[in-house]
């Protein structure tokens, strides 16, 4: 129960932080912000690694394996695509 309270605490603070972080984003950056944070949501990959890494060869392990693939697509694809977009914006900054 202690762990749960601690985790809830972390969750609530992170929520307030999230609201504060991006109050004033210029609309030019809405797409990169969205796809960049979309890549972060692939953090589930950590849970997937733990599920897949267990020794026993049961069904859950395979679910973890599939989950790693999906989450990694989300992570790698999201970061690369965001970088591509921002690279185009950057050219104008000269």
């Amino acid at each position: 129960m202690d762990t749960l309270i601690l985790l809830l605490f972390v969750f609530v603070l992170a929520a307030f932080l999230g609201f504060e972080l991006i109050q004033k984003v210029p609309s030019q950056l809405h797409t990169p912000l969205m796809s960049g944070s979309n890549a972060i949501s692939g953090i589930t990959v950590v849970g997937a690694i733990i599920a897949c890494g267990v020794a026993e060869g049961e069904f859950g392990k395979w679910l973890g394996f599939a989950s790693i693939i999906l989450a990694t697509i989300n992570v790698v694809g999201g970061y690369v695509v965001t970088d591509r977009m921002l690279g185009m914006f950057k050219k104008k900054g000269r």
Binding site: T3, L7, V10, F11, A14, L17, G18, F19, I22, Q23, K24, V25, S27, Q28, H30, P32, L33, M34, S35, G36, S37, N38, A39, I40, S41, G42, I43, T44, V45, V46, G47, I49, A51, C52, G53, V54, E58, F59, G60, K61, L63, G64, F65, I68, I69, L70, T72, I73, V75, V76, Y79, V80, V81, D83, M85, M88, K90, K91, K92, G93
Partner: protein, 455 residues
């Protein structure tokens, strides 16, 4: 300290990198670096996770990461900028499904049966499942594999309400007793809810729903974090969840609609349009005549919309803008916050075409000076320039902030045909005295104008 505590310390580092990453993404000068920082944070989190003593099977993990990385990288590098909204939707859906599978896997391992873990598994599957199929339907709509019009059927709201209630009841059963059948039913019904929830949402509302689903995928990750009691999942997932909600609110405000109205309104369904009938007639103009007006213009504003993305006209538009500038005119691009199919969609397309950053203006910057504009060129935008939003209280879009191009001296509206816009509304702008229609493919029209300038 044992190994687990070192891992937790590394997770703190990774959380800090995510926080700075998101913060820097909100500023043009630092955005690219911010994205890189958050990628480093992700790498740190993934690598240190391998050190858990429960994690022993590295081969399979590396195989999974390799497969996913190659697929994600190839898609991300290959996609055309016009295909960006659907790709973001697709990636987002995969993130949601990954959370479903993590929750399911933990259920299969059956290590913990305490109610809190059960609630977390339930939420990870519910939110992740809705995110997955919802994003997938959004992907189909955005990619044009499915009609962008809202799909409505009788008793739709009732069906969705029943589905939602069933999910609640199943959730209670699952948390109390934990039977496998309840979990499988939750998986299936969550997936169904995602499909049915996004079906009635039309193409023009996609910026809102994509932002919302993005938020949801973060929350699904946070729920998965509660399942495995992992702090970095909770922090990162929650940051994405809340920042996505902010973006959703921004998009709703830009349309003067409530989120509930976007979700359940079935906005833009065929025949649902109301508002005053528009009097007068649309007057066409030839490319030659439009050229003479543009040649004399001192102040030109482009107003791009989804039609520009469909016609892939952004490069031609950029060329025309450069020629007009050479001709001595002041050139700006007025971008409505919800123009296109994703937040900031037009900015991405115009940046790809190398339009100078300074020429991209937000709606609020253009409107006060619109009276001095000689020619406003509307390219495939419709509802975001419909003056009925300002002066017709019976119009469904009444109250939505628009770009006031009707107050410019002359308006050229580039349009494929005479049909109404996404919302199904006749656009009162097109009937105004100062508005001339140039029918045809936007790219061809612009290319024609460019040719006139050069010839």
């Amino acid at each position: 300290m044992d190994l687990k505590q070192y891992i937790d310390l590394a997770y703190i580092v990774s959380s800090i990198l995510f926080i700075f990453g998101i913060k820097m993404l909100g500023n043009a000068a630092t955005a690219r670096k911010g994205n890189l920082l958050s990628a480093v944070g992700m790498l740190v989190a993934m690598v240190v996770t391998l050190f858990y003593k429960e994690v022993v099977d590295y081969q399979m993990i590396l195989a999974g990461v390799a497969i996913g990385a190659v697929i994600g990288w190839v898609w991300a590098v290959r996609v055309q900028m016009t295909g960006m909204p659907e790709l973001v939707a697709l990636f987002n859906g995969f993130g949601g499904l990954a959370s479903v599978l993590v929750g399911w896997a933990e259920f299969e391992f059956g290590k913990s049966t305490d109610p809190v873990t059960q609630i977390a598994i339930y939420l990870a599957i519910l939110i992740g499942g809705v995110t997955f199929t919802g994003s997938f339907v959004a992907y189909l709509k955005l990619a044009g594999k499915m009609s962008g019009r809202p799909t409505l059927f009788p008793a739709q709201k009732a069906v969705n309400a029943v589905l939602f209630l069933a999910l609640l009841v199943l959730g209670v059963i699952y948390v109390m007793q934990g039977p496998a059948w309840a979990l499988y039913a939750i998986i299936v019904l969550s997936l169904a809810l995602g499909v049915l929830g996004v079906l009635p949402i039309g193409g023009g509302d996609m910026p809102v729903i994509i932002a919302f689903l993005n938020s949801f995928s973060g929350l699904a990750g946070a729920a998965a974090g509660f399942v495995i009691l992992n702090k970095v999942l909770i922090v990162a997932g929650c940051l994405v969840g809340t920042s996505g909600i902010i973006l959703t609110i921004i998009m709703c405000k830009a349309m003067n609609r409530t989120f509930g109205n976007v979700l359940f309104g079935g906005f833009g369904a065929a025949g649902a349009a109301a508002g005053k009938a528009v009097e007068g007639e649309m007057k066409g103009i030839s490319v030659e005549d439009a050229f003479y007006a543009l040649e004399a213009a001192q102040n030109v504003v482009f107003v791009p919309g989804y039609g520009m993305a469909v016609a892939q006209a952004q490069h031609a538009v950029k060329e025309l803008g450069a020629l007009l500038e050479k001709n001595g005119a002041e050139v700006r691009f007025a971008i409505h916050p919800v123009a296109g199919r994703m937040p900031g969609h037009m900015n991405v397309l115009l940046a790809e075409a190398d339009v100078p950053y300074e020429q991209l203006c937000e709606m609020d910057a253009v409107n006060p000076t619109i009276g001095q504009v000689d020619v406003a060129i509307v390219i495939g935008a419709n509802d975001v320039v419909n003056p009925a939003a300002g002066d017709d209280p019976s119009s469904p879009i009444y109250g939505m902030p628009i770009i006031n191009v009707h107050e410019a001296r002359t308006v050229f509206a580039l349009k494929r045909g005479k049909g109404s816009g996404f919302s199904g509304l006749e656009n009162a702008l097109f009937f105004r005295e100062n508005c001339r229609m140039i029918y045809g493919d936007a790219k061809e029209t612009i290319t024609g104008l460019v040719a006139q300038f050069k010839g």
